[in-house]
């Protein structure tokens, strides 16, 4: 990626991160659409021999041999039996029955997590710069589990099975499904086994935001990653016939529009279809759009597909307007024709102009790449949101990382839009999603693993979460692009990842397999359900009182039941901190304190005299009666004056 290393402070702190032996020992497994091994992001210059712990393979298949692997890309496998059993044989004329990535997504995520340094990377000159993965010295192993027809869980489980056997340290999955109980969700079951082997599992939170309860991959042994923006934009202005200019974004590069205003038509007025405004396939009337710029509404079909529809109908350009579902979030695309995306408010303004002017005109001006956009990061509208629908007492997502307009490696088999009609080929592409934020965290976890090889997956997550930030440098709270207001822990979890701080968190909330088994007991899982996850008999002790709130998680989700007599009550959460810094005394603070809720930390001071010393504390939440659906948010911080160990708190009355 370009820009994200600087945005995350990795460039200034290069000497803090191990770049030699220990980093080269970390192996990141990426389960995705495969890999384009010829990408410069997988060049292995300067890398030492493959770690002796590695037991994996570079499998052969369509247009892929073991020679495609090297000291960077040390493994590549593919899993298609489940896919083929349901949808029939892989059509090898259309997709490679091998680890080769014909889509681009897998190459993008793998290069984001652990790609080598590539000078002069860009997409058509956009986002130009030195591209690198988060963990440039880590090794990559790619497991292809997604095909044209989807990603099937029998294949995903088989890939996780092999990845564990192969000896990977990090599992990165930028995919998800519906919301199922953990024992039914194959990613959750596979991740449990990986966690037991000390493998850090990072998964995308999903792109179903900004709706509440829209998260996927919420098991507490998974690190769930939402998406935020960078301080980078790709402005492309709409200039109207009334001399008003409005800002949008675009990655279009190609023939420019003629240097004059063109006729401008709303798609809804150039179609006989019910939803003509959406510019869906074969819905535009060519006579009404030929030679014009067309305004389309976002929704239902892919953004780039709408551009292709306008182009096929003879349109010269497109303005793509957000609707309420997306608000003011602007996602840039490498459209096939001159096009720009605008927010909902600007879209409405433009529509008013078009209604008022009998002969509306417009043109689009492309401005290239702009850096230093503030505020940044802001939570992406598409990033899935809490509360956690499976276990409301565990706060998810865990944190956010860059996931909007991310440049990274791409497949040589697909154009940047992914459309069949797109015959352009690029080395790098710019795309958005929690798919992009997840491998950022996977790569950063690899850096932390290299610096602290003895840390458990939960310890690594704790370091990432407790050091994440929730305010900008000016002290204001992180924003949510979908509302334009402060984001909450249901949107950003513990906050935006800060890898430099995560290297030295001071204190950790650690978790073992036994802790997770007690958590399953607290969920009242049956013996069979626990055996599915744990792969062994585990008997919950009937004399022990298990509580979900006792899971030593680095965040707090508290739920008051409004149907109870007083509609509030007292809820206690217990946590244990492990010192991984110098001896010190940490003091607790809670902010903000809200009316209707009292939060008490006991003890409020913890003194650690040596490394790995553990100290426990209890947080008591006393809530008064509140209407159902009330949410209050706060933050607990432990600080010794040098370290800040932060935990988000989400309190709901349901």
């Amino acid at each position: 990626t370009t820009r994200t290393p600087e945005f995350l402070g990795l460039d200034k702190s290069a000497d803090l991160f191990p770049e030699s032996d220990s980093a080269s020992e970390v192996i990141i497994a990426v389960l995705d659409t495969g890999v384009w091994p010829e990408s410069k992001s997988f060049v292995d210059t300067g890398m030492g021999p493959v770690p002796s712990s590695w037991k994996g393979q570079c499998e052969s298949g369509t247009n892929f041999t073991s020679a495609n692997c090297n000291r960077k890309l040390i493994g590549a496998r593919f899993f298609s039996k489940g896919y083929e059993a349901t949808l029939g044989p892989v059509d090898e004329s259309k997709e490679s029955k091998s680890p080769r990535d014909d889509d681009g997504h897998g190459t993008h995520t793998a290069s984001t997590a652990g790609g080598s340094i590539v000078e002069d990377a860009s997409l058509f000159g956009y986002a130009a710069g030195r591209a690198r993965g988060m963990a440039t010295r880590a090794r990559l192993a790619v497991y292809k589990v997604c095909w044209t027809g989807g990603c099937f869980s029998s294949d995903i489980l088989a890939a996780m099975e092999k990845a564990i056997e192969d000896g990977v340290n990090i599992l990165s999955l930028s995919l998800g499904g519906g919301m199922s109980d953990y024992y039914r969700d194959n990613i959750a079951t596979g991740a449990f086994a990986a966690m037991e082997k000390g493998i850090f599992v990072s998964c995308s939170a999903g792109n179903s935001g900004p709706s509440s309860y829209s998260l996927s991959n919420v098991a507490p042994w998974i690190t769930t990653v939402g998406a935020g923006t960078l301080d980078r934009d790709f402005p492309a202005f709409v200039s109207l016939g009334n001399r008003q200019n409005y800002s949008g974004v675009s990655l279009y590069r190609g023939s420019e529009l003629p240097g004059r205003l063109l006729p401008f038509v709303y798609a809804g007025d150039a179609s006989n279809a019910t939803n003509g405004k959406l510019c869906m396939m074969d819905t535009l009337i060519p006579e009404k759009v030929a030679g014009k710029i067309v305004l389309c509404d976002r929704g239902v079909t892919a953004r780039v597909q709408k551009g292709a529809v306008v182009k096929a109908a003879g349109g010269w350009g497109m303005v793509l307007a957000n609707t309420a579902a997306n608000g003011e979030e602007l996602v840039a695309d490498a459209h096939l024709l001159p096009a720009t995306a605008v927010g909902q408010k600007i879209g409405e303004t433009i529509k008013r102009y078009m209604s008022a002017d009998p002969n509306p005109t417009a043109t689009i001006l492309f401005e290239g790449t702009k850096l230093g956009i503030q505020p940044s990061p802001v939570v992406a509208a598409f990033s899935s949101r809490g509360p956690n629908s499976i276990t409301p007492d565990i706060l998810k997502p865990d944190l956010i990382a860059p996931g909007v307009n991310i440049l990274a490696g791409w497949s040589g088999s697909a154009g940047p839009t992914g459309l069949a009609a797109d015959t352009r080929r690029v080395d790098f592409n710019i795309i958005s999603g929690t798919s992009m934020s997840c491998p950022h965290v996977s790569g950063l976890a690899a850096l932390i693993k290299a610096a602290h090889p003895e840390w458990s997956p939960a310890a690594i997550r704790s370091a990432l979460m407790t050091t994440a930030y929730v305010t900008y440098k000016n002290g204001r709270n992180l924003q949510d692009v979908s509302t334009g207001k402060d984001s909450t822990p249901y949107d950003h979890g513990a906050g935006h990842v800060d890898p430099v701080a995560a290297l030295n968190p001071g204190l950790l909330y650690d978790l073992t397999t036994d802790n997770y088994l007690s958590f399953l007991c607290a969920l009242n899982y049956t013996s069979s359900q626990i055996t599915i996850l744990a792969r062994r008999k585990h008997t919950c002790d009937p004399s022990q009182k298990y509580g979900v709130a006792d899971l030593n998680y680095p965040s707090f989700a508290v739920n008051f039941d409004t149907t109870q007599s007083n509609g509030g009550g007292v809820i206690k959460h217990t946590r244990t901190l492990t010192n991984v810094g110098p001896p010190g005394t940490y003091k607790a603070s809670i902010s903000p304190q809200s009316p209707g809720l009292k939060i008490l930390v006991e003890p409020a001071t913890l003194t650690f005299s040596k490394v790995n010393e553990k100290q426990s504390y209890t947080v008591t939440f006393t809530g008064s009666s509140m209407p159902s659906n009330t949410n209050i948010f706060a933050r607990l911080e432990w600080s010794d004056g040098k370290h800040i160990v932060g935990s988000p708190i989400g309190i709901s009355w349901t």
Binding site: D32, K81, G82, H105, C151, S153, G176, G433, S528
Partner: protein
């Protein structure tokens, strides 16, 4: 014919086994899995066997076969496969 019809009615299931309940007569757990599967379906074949992530296997079954298999000793659950999507 009927075989084709059965094939089209089949769905993929993840079969979770309680490995500790493997009868003494079996030397390898995969043989036990195979035997359990055969007791529910003559023609079903395993797609994958799993040992690190879960104890069990994936296979294609009709709903009836899945129900029959679920009743066999040592079977924890027979869960339909899920389809995931890229984010």
């Amino acid at each position: 014919g009927p075989e084709k019809e059965t094939k089209s009615q089949r769905k993929t299931y993840i079969v979770h086994m309680s490995k500790s309940e493997m009868p003494a007569g079996f030397e390898q757990h995969t043989h036990w899995y195979q035997s359990s599967l055969k007791s529910a379906s003559e023609s079903a074949e395993m797609l994958y066997t799993y040992d690190n992530v879960v104890h069990g296997f994936s296979t294609r079954l009709t709903v009836k076969e899945a129900e029959l298999l679920e009743g066999q000793p040592g079977i924890l659950s027979v869960l339909p496969e899920l389809r995931y999507e890229l984010h």
